[in-house]
Symmetry: C2
Subunit: 460 residues, 2 copies
Amino acid sequence: MNVKPNYAEELLEILHSSLSNEELLDRLSDYHENDIADALSQLTEDERKKLYPVLGAERLAEIFTYIDDPDEYLKELDLDKVAKVISYMDSDDAVDVLDEFDDSTQEKLVEMLDEEASHDIRMIQSYEDDEIGSKMTTNFIVIYHDLTIRQAMRELVRQAGDNDNISTVYVVDRKDVFYGAIDLKDLIIARERDSLDDIISTSYPYVTDHEKISDCIEDIKDYAEDSIPVLTDKKMLIGVITSQDIVEVVDDEMGDDYAKLAGLTAEEDLNETTKESMKKRLPWLVVLLFLGIGVSSVVGVFETVVATLPIVMAFQSLILDMAGNVGTQSLAVTIRVLMDENLTGAQKLHLAIKEMRVGFMNGLVLGTVSFLLVGCYIWLLKPNPANHAFLISGCVGFSLMAAMVISSLVGTLIPMFFHKIKVDPAVASGPLITTVNDLVAVITYYGLAWILLIQTFHLA
Amino acid sequence: MNVKPNYAEELLEILHSSLSNEELLDRLSDYHENDIADALSQLTEDERKKLYPVLGAERLAEIFTYIDDPDEYLKELDLDKVAKVISYMDSDDAVDVLDEFDDSTQEKLVEMLDEEASHDIRMIQSYEDDEIGSKMTTNFIVIYHDLTIRQAMRELVRQAGDNDNISTVYVVDRKDVFYGAIDLKDLIIARERDSLDDIISTSYPYVTDHEKISDCIEDIKDYAEDSIPVLTDKKMLIGVITSQDIVEVVDDEMGDDYAKLAGLTAEEDLNETTKESMKKRLPWLVVLLFLGIGVSSVVGVFETVVATLPIVMAFQSLILDMAGNVGTQSLAVTIRVLMDENLTGAQKLHLAIKEMRVGFMNGLVLGTVSFLLVGCYIWLLKPNPANHAFLISGCVGFSLMAAMVISSLVGTLIPMFFHKIKVDPAVASGPLITTVNDLVAVITYYGLAWILLIQTFHLA
């Protein structure tokens, strides 16, 4: 069995050898930029500084797009060299790299770029972070709709040198209005006498530049294309979303949902400072603290129940935890469904009823189990008469079931409500659901204990 | 401002009009298969049955890959037509479609396919669901390494008819061993007198067929390529992972993490039956119920504390909820970091210390706030002397802080432990963390109340 080669290590060996610049460049050309990027980080600054001129600005541009913090390395170059490297980058990558510099350096760099590059970068920077325009690149192939197959092929070859994303060839009319798209494969296998129009899809899917990413990403995914065009309101073609962008956006959006479900305001990574982490976590915790104090003051109302029959307090944590777990399950399901599909009112009702039914069935199973288990526990381990024990555990079991049904419903309706009023349900729902569920569970449990155990059966 | 056209509606209009078959086919060729798929679902069975022969097997193959439950529609075709449609699909899509049929129909269909298609499908089906081989497609362009540029171009044109994924051209030697890859762009702009070897990347990244998806998906994402080759142990090229597959895999993996964080065994969608949903949720809930009863029996030990000083029980929910929230935050951060990177021991220690520090700082803030707020509440609203009130709230505040520090640590160490012993931390950590945190919080709080409030200051 072959062991998978470690390309970064191979590269380090090559880079540390005493090859001539020409040989070195030839050897490096066989490797992927991502692996060269990995190797770069393991060189000393001096070694890197010797390597940069050998690689040249165009190759460096590609390599730096694979580095997380490219500014660290770009700082080892003169500013005019940095500008040159950036000018070779895909425009969306260039924007990402520029973001790593402070504002004044950014401004200086953009001014040193050629007109086209600086125009593209300023355009992409003009979009809000949650608009799809901020994710597009301006590197794509575009031809006029009235060319012949041969002319189109020639245009493709001419433009392919500067533009990476060639698998879809975009078509505009002579007024530069979007006309359609050609699958490169169809252009390659077309015969010279065929008409270009026959291979153009004129009703091609697109997004408009100011659309919210979260609104259009599901559509974009559904088309499963290598790239999707971005148009202005006036149907001018200004960029494309590549499949790499789609991977990135899907990753970001899901990571965001994940973080929010866990009560973080944004995703965190390994290198964050304590202060940054606190900033992401504290807001939610403060909200929860206040809501929690609210819940506690309601629990305080039932002091006398606990004073009369202390054993009941032992099972409060059980009922609250289970209600919380069930609520989180319903919340997670509802949020994923709300994100993925446009639900009709009937479908929403259907979902809510289904969640309640699942909550009820699960509650029935777990309520019965805990009625029996808790009953035996109180009867045998806390010396109590059997009838007392099972009265108490009946209270626990019933409250558990009731709390689970209501938690399922709350976990479904609250995110739907926030979605309806256009507030991100992933952020807003968590604390509210926890609080409502806690309140419902506490009131059901202690209320039932008060009425049934203390008022009716006079247990003490 | 132009309103974005609704292609599915346009298509319905076209399909309901009385165009000749030829005109209809011509109009349909301008639309994306995904939109035709949408329109298809809004036709009656009879309308669809008339449309199928017009579209033909090749186009239908593309359209059906965009339908979630293609078997519903494929059942409207004869079995030999179904086989024909499947034979035109990319092999990974064909496998997905076949999965929708029962075993005997599947077997029948695979036998009706041509040898190449059935070989590819059986190969992909032979991989486990969590192996990268199960996600690959066999539709790619492959050429020999010793061709000229002109011969390579000719091969490309010949193979492009049958294979969708052309943006990377793969290269093998005469023994069919993987040799490297060519960016299609480089082939297109190459001059005829150039040597093919110059544009082949021989140290091209690849995955091996039996690699676990979760182990290699981060690497694949990092290379940001349109496709990544899949090799056997012997370096034979057997398939590629396309960027569409990458989007799908990233989506699945993240969706899975998300579901697990919420205590679901797998992602759910809208159309699931109550039984299926119960099956996904009940296992975790049962585990939590038993652990919860365990916690309750520990809480039961502190019955006398509550009997003596009932007010303390009001704040149990506050401390337990906050500990749970902090634990979930640390868990989420740790799981994402563990998935994304290969951590050294030093980095793990660094992460654990950072999590504790964040927990301590947040705990200090929230502990102080709750000391003040809870103190005022007990002093003013539950008539208690101020010194008693702030002794009790001091207990609450200190326990809250201690619980938050320990929860952060537990939320970090438990997933690391499961990761170390190769158990999925996303599944196993949740219940254990909740339980440990509940226990720690309960023991700290009631223990402190017992020693400080009752034994030392004799509050009652």
